[in-house]
Symmetry: C2
Subunit: 356 residues, 2 copies
């Protein structure tokens, strides 16, 4: 593959939404990045083109066998008008791990980060500036062979699209209510849980829908084998602070390794807060609660960065955390991490990458 990106600029520019009307994932910028794959050519024809519909035969594999992977990260505009990305190398590396699990050919991580920077730079006027807003970046790969056989596709398309998104917390950070799922299972060791692939999200919809009907915003998944051990929340990893120690489930093969999770672990160690990654049962959390030792809990993910957990519904009982308010450590982590991401806080770990 030649690494030259062909650029075709859009003749017209779309109107940008008002900052206060921004929703997640509904508006897209003027351009997108595309490259295609065939066994003969490898990844070829990298190009930035106007954002527009793509045309596919009804027999295209993406419509049938779910062989897809994706990523999600954000670009921020700093107070000095710099465009900042947060650890894009982690996302592109994870994309390749997902590719491996789904039998999709590897991408050149460095080249794709260059492509992403180029695209963001072309559409940088789309990055909102109000507090808490950002440009959501969605790289994804779909199988494009026209074939109904169950086999890895011989052709693929890699795309990056961009969407300006509003603040996750319209009225400031506030705790969410979580339903501990006891019937449905998201993933199991030997399955696709640690890959970011469509099927994991499709299988989660039913549990999510039922939890919402009962007034909970997300589901906490337990392991698929014993339905005892804590895995993760909808699209977040989870942390508990119990008796001064912060605990998050270890990477057991069925949960996603979140970039935010990894960053939180680094920050906590840097602050000398006792922290461990280990197998943690819901029963342990419940017992800690009963003993008055369950201090804080929060979810971590690109969309909300940190989501304080105010309530957990488990075994027909409500576990209320920190009186339903955002914990002190949770708040400090949120402020520090969003500070680093937006260029307002010292970037101790060199996580931030500037787009020129």
């Amino acid at each position: 593959m030649t690494n030259k990106i062909n650029i075709t600029l859009s003749a017209t520019k779309k109107e940008k939404p008002n900052a206060d009307q921004l929703e997640f994932g509904r508006t897209f910028t003027d351009h997108m990045f595309i490259m295609d794959y065939s066994a003969a050519k490898g990844w070829y024809d990298p190009r930035i083109v106007p954002y527009e519909p793509i045309s596919l035969s009804p027999s295209t594999m993406v419509f049938h066998y779910g062989q897809t992977v994706f990523e999600g990260l954000k670009a921020y505009r700093s107070s000095e008008d710099k465009v900042l990305l947060f650890r894009p190398d982690k996302n592109m590396h994870r994309l390749n791990l997902s590719n491996d699990r789904l039998c999709i050919p590897q991408i050149d991580e460095e080249f794709v980060i260059e492509a992403l920077k180029e695209l963001v730079s072309i559409d940088k006027e789309w990055i909102p500036t109000a507090e808490g807003t950002s440009l959501y970046i969605r790289p994804f790969i779909i199988p494009t062979e026209y074939y109904l056989g169950v086999a890895p596709s011989k052709y693929y398309r890699f795309m990056i699209i961009l969407s300006p998104v509003g603040s996750y917390y319209k009225e400031g950070i506030h705790p969410v209510k979580i339903f501990v799922e006891n019937q449905y299972v998201r993933a199991v060791d030997g399955g696709t849980g640690k890959a970011k692939t469509g099927g994991n999200y499709a299988s989660s919809l039913k549990a999510q829908e039922e939890a919402e009907k009962r007034g909970y915003s997300q589901v906490l998944w337990l392991d698929g084998v014993e339905k005892k051990y804590i895995e993760e929340v909808g699209s977040m990893n989870i942390f508990f602070k119990i008796n001064g120690e912060v605990i998050t489930p270890s990477l057991n093969g069925s949960i996603l390794e979140g970039v935010t999770r990894n960053s939180i672990l680094h920050l906590l160690k840097h602050w000398n807060v006792p922290v461990s990654e280990r197998k943690l049962s819901m029963e342990d959390v419940y017992n800690a609660y009963k003993e008055g030792l369950l201090e804080e809990a929060f979810g971590t993910g690109t969309a909300a960065v940190i989501s304080p957990i105010g309530e957990l519904f488990y075994n027909e009982e409500n576990i209320v955390l920190n009186n339903g308010e955002t914990g002190e450590l949770t708040k400090k982590l949120y402020d520090t991490l969003t500070g680093i991401q937006t260029g307002n806080h010292e970037d101790v770990f060199n996580w931030v990458v500037e787009v020129n």
Copy 2:
């Protein structure tokens, strides 16, 4: 919804492939059936149109979260030139079960069978006539909302496409070699195993690829919890004949209820062959083999109808069945079932539906 199907015939007809060049799922007929869904209108605008690419925004949910379902059945041309479908009601009912698991709105099963008949009748010249050939019918549903949030789509498209397919066994029915999977897991209770959704197939590719490298044509899945109990093969259910009794794993929530499986159970009962659906461990099968009681094994599914199993690789050991040859009962089931499907054998159970 009005049940009137709008028909737009193709101005040109594509060339039909020669019977001996037919592959599975690569060639499609001149027309397809489409209908769309929105909450306000329900399923609307049912139409038969020329087979052609569809155009979708890159943010369309189908590219991201795998909320898809599909079915697979066949139309045969009888020696009297009748067009026959095999138990289409079972497939459309299963589609609705899949819809339920994936939070997709229910379809009107009877109407969709009518639409399918209409489509097959328009493209009936595409049904090949040579022995073992048929017209493969692929109904499927994709989410069409333009949105990156993880939630059930608010819009869907239902499509039916048709593909003439060759004989599964080019040189007559012959046994396959199966690898008993001990690392990867396809599905688990509480997951999506009993639904026909893309993610189940995406997650199976890796194990399939590794088995093929070792010379096996398919993978036999064990349960995701203990990795002990037999589930199903790639895209087939499985049966074992042990000491005169035919056994197939029971519908435990993580395997697909095959239409062929169901038909085989009916036939065996009709013939007074001892048959049971129950939990069966791979250890039980291995012990039966060691005692010389493992008589036959076969997979069942729409593509191959019946696939005799000649060899199972388990725990670094080769279990050879019936000297690697097609068993007597396996052959009788294959002949009877394909006979019924093609109108050459008495249709005792009224399974066959004629397209006029």
